[in-house]
């Protein structure tokens, strides 16, 4: 069965610094997609970034980037130049046909 593990329930970072959130997954598939979603206190789920497993190049969206290690089944999210507005729950997700499997989330606090 496919599973997604986020081993850091909480993380903190100082404003303007860099933080990395970890995610590992288990799958026997060779072609799949991975996502990071952000959930601020408003509760809205917001797509942050996505990665195709067949691409070796790591995805980047402005201050957000991933470190995708396919052999290790690892998909970490790096947030550069952290801002107060980055404080949220972050969920890693793996897509199997028609469905998303989510990790349990990491709560990120950002201190001024």
């Amino acid at each position: 069965a496919q599973t997604v593990t986020q081993s850091q329930p909480e993380m903190s970072v100082q404003e303007a610094e860099t933080v990395t959130l970890s995610c590992t997954y288990d799958t026997s598939e060779s072609d799949y997609y991975l996502f990071w979603y952000k959930q601020p206190p408003s509760r809205q789920m917001i797509l942050v970034i996505r990665q195709e497993a067949y691409k070796q190049q790591n995805a980047t969206e402005n201050r957000f980037s991933v470190n995708f290690q396919k052999a290790a089944k690892s998909f970490s999210l790096k947030i550069s130049d952290s801002q107060l507005g980055d404080a949220a729950m972050y969920f890693c997700a793996y897509r199997i046909p028609d469905k998303l499997i989510f990790g349990t989330g990491t709560r990120l606090q950002v201190f001024p």
Binding site: R43, M45, L47, E52, F91, D98, K99, L100, F102, G105
Partner: protein, 115 residues
């Protein structure tokens, strides 16, 4: 904003009563999903639909039923609510058909409390 609304946004009900949550989309996407979110569990799939009258179960479907009579509406029903169904419920739509564009976007959520 992917054009998804959920109603109601908050509901308090009593054990044993039926409850229906509504998800409405404005963009005619084929796939729609219902998830629940609980502390320590992330989001878990309840049911999903891949077209009008076409639905399938997710990992936590017991105690829930769904219906989709129109493309734009996906209803989640708790036939007899229990306290274990107290949760935040999210609807999602799937945008794109394959590849990197195949992404789920979420509604604002419904907080349901069963007393």
């Amino acid at each position: 904003d992917a054009g998804i609304t959920q109603s109601p946004r908050h509901k308090v009900t009593e054990t044993g009563t039926p409850v229906t949550l509504r998800c409405h989309q404005t963009e005619n996407h084929r796939y729609m999903y219902w998830y629940r979110q609980d502390p320590g569990h992330g989001l878990r799939l309840i049911h999903y639909s891949y077209g009008v009258k076409d639905t399938d179960k997710g990992e936590v479907s017991d105690g829930y039923s769904v219906s989709r009579s129109k493309t734009e509406d996906f209803l989640l029903t708790l036939e007899s609510a229990t306290s274990s169904q107290t949760s935040v419920y999210f609807c999602a739509i799937r945008v794109g058909t394959s590849g990197v564009t195949d992404t789920q976007y979420f509604g604002p959520g419904t907080r349901l409390t069963v007393l």
